[in-house]
Amino acid sequence: MNENLKHRIKARILKALHLVALFIAMAIICVPGLWIVLNSFRPTVEIMAKPPVWIPSELNLDNYRAMFGAVGEGGVPVVQYFTNSLIISVTSTVIAILVGMAGGYAFARYRFKGKAGIFIGLMLTRAVPGVSLSLPLFIVMAKTGLIDTHVGLILVYVALNVPFTIWLIDGFFRQVPIELAEAAEIDGCTRWQAFWKVEFPVARAGIASAGIFAFLTSWNEYALASQLTRSTFSKTMPVGLRDFTSEFTINWGGMCALAVLMIIPALILTFIVQKHLIAGLTFGGVKG
């Protein structure tokens, strides 16, 4: 019985260690984000207090009121930035999905020479660092007058998202058995109808998650936007975050409030699609 007891104790200890490790890991993940949220409700004086104030004496909406009312320090036009971000992200996502669906379908359903090469080539365009790309893009956009416009940034984000969208959608279409489309064609559909009436609805959830992935990329992108937008009319929220910084000081409270405004849509969307997103990434990758 001694031997059994030893193993039982060992199993108990391991289980306890597992829980402790899990708790620490989750805390590390959560604390930075929660701290931002907490600070968005605190007055700047308290954030900057020395010695630090650990238990907030009062939580208020001042930072949010200042942000939307465009009063207080700086008067950052948050609503305008939010609208810009929304227009640019949504438009570029829709276009990227349409382009990506065509491309993904081509990879999933057709055999052609140099398929792997073309695929890698498309992916590599994504590997170009934003800052390296932003220099020549800046020149081209300046020459064509697209700089500081919605259209300019939309085009850039479409290009940024297409490779990944193709990767994901390719994976989703390959999960749809080809027999399904074939059956539809035998039932009298044209290839076009077979696609829209059978394959698309089946892959729809996956395509939606690819769309949300693209949306998040556009929503959060900074390196390119910071160079290609100059004025209030086209600046997006990530660029707008910088408005809270001045030469020597940073308005942490106001920035935290804008950060929360940025995170909330991202949070909601990600939760909706997390399952499909994971499935799409891994399927496309593993089944070659």
Binding site: A21, L22, A25, M26, I28, I29, V31, P32, G33, W35, I36, N39, M48, A49, P52, V99, G100, A102, G103, A106, F112, L122, M123, L124, R126, A127, V128, P129, G130, S132, L133, L135, P136, I139, V140, V158, A159, L160, V162, P163, F164, W219, N220, Y222, A223, P238, L241, A259, M262, I263, A266, L267, Q274, I278, L281, T282, G285, V286, K287, G288
Partner: protein, 298 residues
């Protein structure tokens, strides 16, 4: 008479190819050209003077360039490896949980939703020597009474950047590896335990080969997006103070936009592109090898 009709796949791929050519390829060609000129934003005519490899020579002989290059490679190597290991650890921890796994998985995805620039600000705030969370905590706990200059000291700043980068990207690895763990068939694992494997041996000989493709997918996806770290670094230190955390990307950004020396910046930009492509291709190849190992190759 028959007109040559382009194949369907080509028509379908055409929009993608056009947009990528317009937004990525043409600017890259332009930047390739301009990297052979002394182009300055302020002097447009300088775009038409050919100076051959002078910019590249300048970069390759510049101590600033090489330190930035070395630091970038170092940061990437350390960050990718640690992220992979910690992501693996996190995935294993969550995989072992029997209750509330959905909630944990959702929490795990939390950092993925943060814009890199936000991560930059967030950690700039956290590591702030005056009001930051880290110093406040250390001081309140009585571990130190000094304001540790997290973002000013070169080594500490590198460490702080690494922490921020790891916080933002570890969950990508964890999520993908967790998906891999779910896909591992249960039978071979049970067979291995019956065959006499300790938990560690089971992991090493059975689980790991199964999730290897997923690890490489994560690495490939990450390396596609590795320059995201630029946003974080730009906010946290912008390469400073005094170039102590200069990375290739911040150096390029400053040379191009602040100094307006586009030609030179583009030359360095090309080097950074090759670096990124190298990492990506490397991981894609590893991915294929790992797939072949499991007999999953297409």
């Amino acid at each position: 008479m028959s007109r040559l009709k382009p194949p369907a796949w080509f028509v379908l791929l055409l929009p993608a190819i056009i947009i990528l050519a317009a937004v990525v390829l043409i600017p890259l060609l332009l930047s390739l050209y301009s990297s052979f000129t002394p182009y300055r934003l302020t002097r447009p005519d300088s775009l038409y003077r050919w100076i051959g490899f002078a910019n590249y020579e300048k970069a390759l002989t510049s101590i600033h360039f090489w330190t930035a290059f070395g630091r970038t490679v170092l940061l990437l190597t350390i960050a990718l490896n640690l992220e992979m290991l910690m992501g693996l650890g996190l995935a294993l921890l969550v995989n072992k949980v029997t209750w509330g796994q959905r909630t944990l998985r959702t929490i795990m995805m939390f950092p993925m939703m943060f814009s890199p620039i936000l991560v930059g600000f967030q950690f700039k705030f956290i590591f702030n020597d005056n009001v930051g969370l880290v110093n406040n905590a250390l001081q309140s706990l009585g571990l130190t009474d000094q304001a540790i200059p997290w973002l000013v000291d070169g080594k500490l700043a590198f460490f702080s950047i690494l922490v921020a980068e790891m916080w933002s990207a570890t969950s990508v690895f964890a999520i993908l590896i967790l998906a891999g763990l779910f896909a591992v068939p249960r039978d071979p694992i049970e067979a291995a335990t019956v065959d006499g494997c300790t938990p560690w041996q089971t992991f090493r000989h059975i689980t790991l080969p199964f999730i290897m493709p997923f690890i490489y997918i994560a690495l490939a996806i990450r390396s596609l997006d590795v320059a995201r770290a630029y946003d974080i670094v730009q906010i946290m230190t912008n390469g400073g103070p005094a170039r102590r955390t200069e990375l290739l990307w911040t150096l390029i950004g400053r040379t191009g936009y602040v100094d307006a020396r586009m030609g030179y910046a583009n030359a360095m930009g090309y080097i950074s592109i090759f670096l990124a492509i190298f990492f990506t291709v490397y991981f894609f190849r590893k991915l294929n090898a790992a797939r072949g190992e499991l007999g999953m190759a297409s």
